[in-house]
């Protein structure tokens, strides 16, 4: 009788243990599925937004741009005898140049044509060159190896680098920014280092208004990458990003 009680007690314990283990396994499984679903949702949302930007950029660059250039050409070809009228026409030509310039800038901000045509590294080089020309910051770009990134990931990596450079210009008050790019074992490695004022990372990441850093994290997450941020007030900021690209 005692043996029977012992056996049935062991059976009862095993059943309860299986139920408890199943509880944890099941909740972890659902949580993983949920996280995957969330990542897919964010990826879909960002991709839709990027496609929309691409369409608008293409419309501006390919449709409006040539039209405005044609208008400019037509205006320049008109012979006007009266000097006052000629002045008005010259002014109009200058306005048109400004419009074309602004339109190109907007089109570039929406999506750099270089990224589509020549790939990520060239687009970054172009972007860094433009920032060096317009801003007081000195950016040095080091591309250690030939980097090959899948087309669908290029835009996200480019946006992340854009965000880091913008953050450095806007908040860090840095004079120098060094950016290094490399590829190792099927992973893109990105490292940036500035000599700015730095910040308290925990405080900034905890703030709900810090959209820039959150956007970096979201993009890194959807690319299944790792984002590491090192900063302290007065010591500059280092970003390290590792993204699988094979």
């Amino acid at each position: 009788m005692e043996n029977k009680i012992l056996n049935i007690t062991i059976l009862l314990s095993v059943i309860i243990a299986v139920i408890i283990i199943y509880f944890f396994v099941s909740i972890i499984r659902y949580h993983r599925r949920y996280m995957k679903l969330q990542r897919e949702r964010i990826f879909a949302e960002i991709t839709i937004r990027e496609n929309e930007r691409k369409r608008i950029a293409a419309d501006l660059h390919d449709s409006l741009g040539p039209l405005l250039s044609a208008v400019k050409l037509n205006i320049s070809s008109v012979e006007i005898p009266h000097p006052d009228d000629r002045l008005v026409l010259e002014k109009t030509g200058k306005y048109l140049d400004e419009i074309i310039g602004s339109m190109r800038r907007i089109s570039y901000d929406l999506l750099p044509a270089t990224l589509e045509r020549q790939g990520l590294v060239e687009a970054i080089r172009e972007f860094v060159g433009q920032v060096n020309l317009k801003q007081t910051i000195n950016i040095q770009l080091y591309v250690v190896k030939d980097i090959r990134v899948p087309k669908e990931k290029e835009i996200h990596i480019f946006r992340m680098i854009q965000e880091i450079v913008h953050n450095t210009i806007k908040h860090a008050r840095a004079k120098n920014l060094q950016i290094g790019l490399s590829e190792e074992a099927g992973h893109l490695l990105f490292l940036s280092k500035d000599d700015g004022k730095g910040f308290d990372t925990e405080k900034e990441l905890g703030r709900s208004s810090g959209l820039g850093l959150k956007s970096l994290q979201s993009r890194c997450e959807i690319l299944s990458g790792i984002l590491s941020l090192e900063s302290k007030p007065g010591t500059g900021t280092n970003y390290f990003i590792k993204i699988p690209v094979s």
């Binding site: 009788m1 005692e2 029977k4 009680i5 049935i8 007690t9 059976l11 009862l12 059943i15 309860i16 299986v18 139920i19 199943y22 509880f23 099941s26 909740i27 659902y30 949580h31 599925r33 949920y34």
Partner: protein
């Protein structure tokens, strides 16, 4: 004490009345569960008649009832999403698990007795299905879970069937010691039954009204 015991034994009326009140609201989503309560109620009456009226054992109706109970609860979970996309696999699962009943009751001739094996087996499965459903709702459902009828029903199932597993253990233990813990666990099942029936009644009352769409 007698009145309390009598009232507790009639606790199945609580969800049954709540279900009848909300009968129009009960769509496909809760029909198997409501059918289970109706069958449970009639089995209780039949058992009472057999024992008190004919002094006969209620083992056969109870054994048939537990097969119906398992089948209806499995269908209920299927409606809630368990193997929903794999209907054939679900039917295989249902038939395979019911075969345990066939072997236990017909092959070993236990239909005239109270064999614990199928009871243990299906109670265990129901607890796992309920845990799975609850975890799914915790992860994906953003609404207040304590106002969600499926969540409450699953909680009721976990309480009741986990206690049933303990109850089976207690029956074996009480054979050796009539005044010990096993006996108390057996006695306490009436209260657990009343508690779960109250939870089921609340769940029925919380079933939302069906939304009718019209193009008029």
């Amino acid at each position: 004490m007698t009145i309390i015991v009598f009232l507790i034994s009639q606790s199945i009326l609580l969800p049954l009345i709540a279900g009848l009140v909300r009968l129009r609201r009960i769509g496909k989503g809760y029909q198997p569960f409501f059918a289970l309560l109706v069958i449970g109620f009639f089995t209780e009456i039949l058992s009472f008649v057999l024992i008190k009226g004919y002094h006969a054992s209620n083992a056969i109706p109870i054994n048939i009832y537990i097969l119906a109970e398992w089948t209806l609860i499995a269908i209920q979970f299927h409606i809630w999403g368990f193997l929903k996309q794999r209907k054939q696999l679900f039917y295989v699962f249902l038939i395979a698990t019911s075969l345990v009943w066939v072997v236990d009751n017909l092959f070993f001739g236990m239909i005239t007795g109270f064999s614990p094996w199928f009871r243990l087996f299906y109670s265990f499965l129901i607890v796992l299905l309920s845990v799975n459903k609850i975890n799914y709702m915790i992860t994906y459902d953003n609404r207040n879970l304590f106002r969600n009828p499926s969540f409450l029903i699953c909680i009721g199932f976990i309480i009741y069937f986990l206690y049933m597993i303990l109850y089976r253990w207690a029956i074996e233990v009480s054979a050796a010691d009539k005044s010990g813990i096993g006996y108390k666990i057996i006695f306490f099942i009436a209260y657990v039954n009343a508690l779960t029936n109250s939870i089921f009644a609340i769940a029925f009352l919380l079933i939302p009204a069906r939304v009718k769409f019209t193009l008029k």
